[in-house]
């Protein structure tokens, strides 16, 4: 009886803490961002999602890095060179440091969040460029909820969920800190689907992403994400609605997967 009780306790704890069994250091996912208007596709940018291990004197963290760069043909019209990164606990994907360093067609913005999960506070730093090239900083101290994460760690955290236990229609709400504001993001499991991709035919979990109480990314099942229905749960394909047409994110290559 005692071993059974112990085993059940461990299982329960693992589920409760949301242990990470899907994301490991050394993973590299490459995507092509495409603009789709009336079925005519135009490739716009390359998106890379990489993970690596970062050692400090006290602990080891996981660096989740996402970069987006427009293709050469777009650079003269609208050059995008974006960097998003989050430093998280490798077991629970709790964020400690988040950085957003974006350069989009001459517009530059830098955001940094230093998370303190114990006190549930965030020290935020916003840096923008003036027209003359000089920068100005804005510092804030924010109070956050116990489960608030940044955008990058939330995206990776979705991969650690036990989606195979979910029923179609089940929805989970996440709190995401973006531009110093806590936003409620809903992730709804719709169905299991097999889709064609550059990696071949892959069985996927089809999820609908929506932003609650905002006009952007409304709850209309237009913003969809397909995660591979295996232990890695890597994003295979995503579609999102933009004012004129649709945007798509298609996987190009995947390496260094955990399972």
């Amino acid at each position: 009886m005692k071993p059974l009780f112990l085993a059940l306790s461990f299982l329960y704890a693992g589920f409760l803490l949301g242990q990470n069994n899907s994301v490991a250091a050394g993973e590299k996912l490459v995507y092509t961002a495409t603009y789709n208007m009336s079925g005519i596709l135009t490739d716009i940018a390359e998106v890379k999602m990489e993970t690596s291990e970062i050692k400090t004197s006290k602990s080891t963290l996981l660096r989740l890095k996402c970069t987006a760069a427009t293709f050469k043909k777009w650079d003269n019209f609208f050059k995008i060179r974006d960097l998003y990164e989050s430093y998280v606990n490798p077991k629970t994907l709790t964020p400690y440091l988040y950085k957003r360093d974006i350069s989009e067609g001459g517009y530059y913005k830098f955001m940094q969040y230093k998370f303190n999960p114990r006190t549930r506070t965030v020290e935020s730093l916003k840096r923008k460029k003036r027209k003359d090239g000089s920068t100005w900083d804005e510092n804030n101290r924010l109070k956050i909820g116990s489960n608030t994460k940044d955008f990058v760690s939330t995206f990776y955290y979705i991969r650690t969920l036990d989606i195979d236990k979910a029923q179609p229609g089940d929805e989970q709400i996440f709190t995401v800190l973006f531009d110093n504001e806590e936003n409620k993001v809903g992730v709804k499991f719709l169905a299991k689907e097999t889709i064609n991709s550059n990696l071949g035919k892959i069985e996927c979990y089809k999820l609908a992403i929506s932003l609650k109480n905002k006009d952007l990314l409304k709850d209309t099942n237009d913003n969809l994400l397909w995660l591979s229905a295996d232990d890695n749960k890597i994003p295979i394909y995503a579609t999102f609605k933009i004012p004129v047409g649709n945007g798509e994110l298609k996987i190009k290559s995947a390496s260094g997967l955990k399972n």
């Binding site: 603009y35 135009t42 963290l61 293709f71 019209f77 060179r81 114990r118």
Partner: protein
């Protein structure tokens, strides 16, 4: 009626050329097709006339230019990421800065 198709044909041809020059050259296919349809209709409507309107020649000239450019770009221009040196430099700078910040943060392995 003929005048309407001439105007539509011209607008389509000009839009086709503009799109063909931009990175959205794939989308030029739609105005190219529209332009050719308008051109064909103008030809049909001016059947029997001794002198065909000069506008058809200009419309077809612009459409052929747009079509050639679109085909050329579709065949020869590949998807390559441009200069990312600056981005890589920012990545490195951010990593070094992050390491320093993380050293000063309270990190709890259980959270």
């Amino acid at each position: 009626m003929k005048k309407l198709f001439v105007i539509l044909g011209f607008i389509s041809a000009v839009i086709a050329v503009i799109l063909a020059v931009t990175p959205l050259s794939n989308l030029a296919i739609i105005p190219i097709l529209l332009g050719f349809i308008c051109g064909a209709l103008i030809l049909y409507l001016s059947k029997g006339e001794k002198q065909k309107p000069k506008s058809i020649q200009y419309i077809f000239l612009l459409l052929i230019m747009a079509l050639s450019l679109t085909i050329y770009k579709g065949v020869f221009v590949s998807n390559e990421v441009g200069d990312v040196e600056q981005l890589e430099q920012r990545e490195e700078e951010n990593l070094e800065d992050s390491k320093e910040i993380l050293e000063g943060l309270e990190i709890d392995d259980d959270l």
